[in-house]
Subunit: 401 residues, 2 copies
Amino acid sequence: MDMHQLTRELNVQNNNKIVMLVADGLGGLPVQSLGPTELEAAKTPHLDALVAYGTCGSSIPVKPGISPGSGPGHLGLFGYDPLQYLIGRGALEATGIGFHLGPQDVAIRCNFCTLDNNGNITDRRAGRIPTEQSAPLAVRLREVSLPGIEVFVEPVKEHRFVVVLRGEGLGGDVADTDPQATGVPLAKPAARNDQSRRTAEVAAEFAREGAALLADQSAANAFSMRGFSVRPSLPSFQEVYGLRAAAVAVYPMYKGLAKLVGMEIVGDAKTLSDQMEIVKEHWEQYDFFFVHFKYTDSTGEDGDFDAKVKRIEEFDAAIPKISALKPSVTIVTGDHSTPSLLKAHSWHPVPTLIASDHCRPDRCKTFGEADCLSGGLGQFEAKYLMPLALAHAGRMGKFGA
Amino acid sequence: MDMHQLTRELNVQNNNKIVMLVADGLGGLPVQSLGPTELEAAKTPHLDALVAYGTCGSSIPVKPGISPGSGPGHLGLFGYDPLQYLIGRGALEATGIGFHLGPQDVAIRCNFCTLDNNGNITDRRAGRIPTEQSAPLAVRLREVSLPGIEVFVEPVKEHRFVVVLRGEGLGGDVADTDPQATGVPLAKPAARNDQSRRTAEVAAEFAREGAALLADQSAANAFSMRGFSVRPSLPSFQEVYGLRAAAVAVYPMYKGLAKLVGMEIVGDAKTLSDQMEIVKEHWEQYDFFFVHFKYTDSTGEDGDFDAKVKRIEEFDAAIPKISALKPSVTIVTGDHSTPSLLKAHSWHPVPTLIASDHCRPDRCKTFGEADCLSGGLGQFEAKYLMPLALAHAGRMGKFGA
């Protein structure tokens, strides 16, 4: 019996609200021996107040030692086992640019490349062609017309773009055409099962016509196709938790991930302040709010300890606007750690707090990595955060008599 | 998706070295109420220095409450789920005496016993016949000749010996011949599947001819056969972690276990000091070093608290020789606890530390059971130690985008 069978079966409906505040890449590392982490260095009076009232712990995004991308990181927070629910690369790339995949779609992550006169690859990424040059080429590929298939081509950054094929009978199991080597031709799209045969044929035709449209382009005269994938099949928040869920995010990737689990995207926030307003405006319409704050991750990725500290303090300053709404349960966490020391996502557990009237107090005083180690939630896999939230909100009944 | 699928898929190659120091049976218990454990009583300045720099935790060898033998204990440390990878008793016994099983081998753990004139068992262990008497009997059994089969007979301790049958088409699924009772005859070896039919026939012939060779022996005129098993099929360290791994151990059992996961046995150490030299000599040739120290376990098994304390101090004194090599990641742990109070392996979690430049500091100051409870690794199953080691060594990439 998996956790969703339990959350479904034990579901209790009430009016208690849950707010999940996700500071992306929240966890960090000291930059000096025995010094503080970014979160420990930041002044966070409002988070500390929640800590005093709530219960803390350390969230393991996937499994010990595993550094997740945004996809598995958020699936874990949303209570979907990230090793069970895998999002294909094409689907994640489409999601990342805000393309909402439908049930007849196959998404493909494409890379511009260069071929010599014999059709052999000379550069698998077309010299990481700048976006200003690559975007118009991607747009030109929209001229490809395939009978019975709707084609979407969306530029991404540098050599990357996304193709979505929409039509009937398109399976997602097609091998990559990138041979991962130069001096050899691109592979033909090859179906790995019967349901994907039409996808492979359509993709081959797209590759042929696309290459013809690029034939005169020295910067990039072809492209590889990778990570063919259909929309991942995830049960919705409504179905597994009985929650009307709203996502309040600024960046398309997080809106996209939220939409994959059936959250509604509300508002069009540009700032954290906008996000707080939007939560307030929609307070009565939803049971669950996912609020995503990006800059704790991006400053970590930049390796800028001080900037990350400032962003954490900005995040802290917004907390009273949520507390004023008196949610039944407030969660503060991150989808993974992004220590500025490493300039990358890491495997380190993420400081996490749950604040509600039904928390058992622990001895944590401030919100920080070392303090959270003595917290009442211990170390736990992120996928258990949603059941904990539901429990604290009185939204799960007793298991067994 | 299991952890080895992840470690394979996310593998990153670099030159960072990992050293895993295993003090067998490291964890202990106080002998006086509220007194220290063996590790807490020992003066361990070098381990404490690693603790200050690294991250600590408590390793659960298999699952809470389970006291493992050396086989499952080490498999867990090596990242092989000990409940998934079972080593048959015969294979473990052969491994324990340094017999390296090949792909055509079936290993059988045998016990000398005594039969009365009617062929009924009078003593299932032949009065725990002393090794001086049993070893020559085992050697005598080498005279058995079976067509098409190579037979190895190796004495073990007291009533125990190992038989290895080598030949084509020998499956390992044969029932024990020991009826676990006296006053009844030995059972005939019975195949439990078609692939093991020949094994059962060959084993029956070995039992017949062997008993004839022992007919005149009053101390032990027969033997039972148990734990028929082929070489366990374990993916190698190279395959699952991309590591060239060396084992530096004194005792055959630990060399054998290391060899089962594809480590190379280097040197011929007799002492811990030899082991340290061997690691140094082979430093450039391997990515991973498993160093096994036996005496923390044997003193625990002897129930000798003070001797175990001394052995821990001896182990501590060797640490600087490893630190001088500047490994990227140093792990100190045990395969299980062996409290001298219990004179046996126990289920208690094992104090564990990981030291590397990418550790998140915790508040542990000294290496001991109680201190480790506040460590940044929390309590974790031993099987996650290898993914954690790989992560800290920068040898695993990001999971998902």
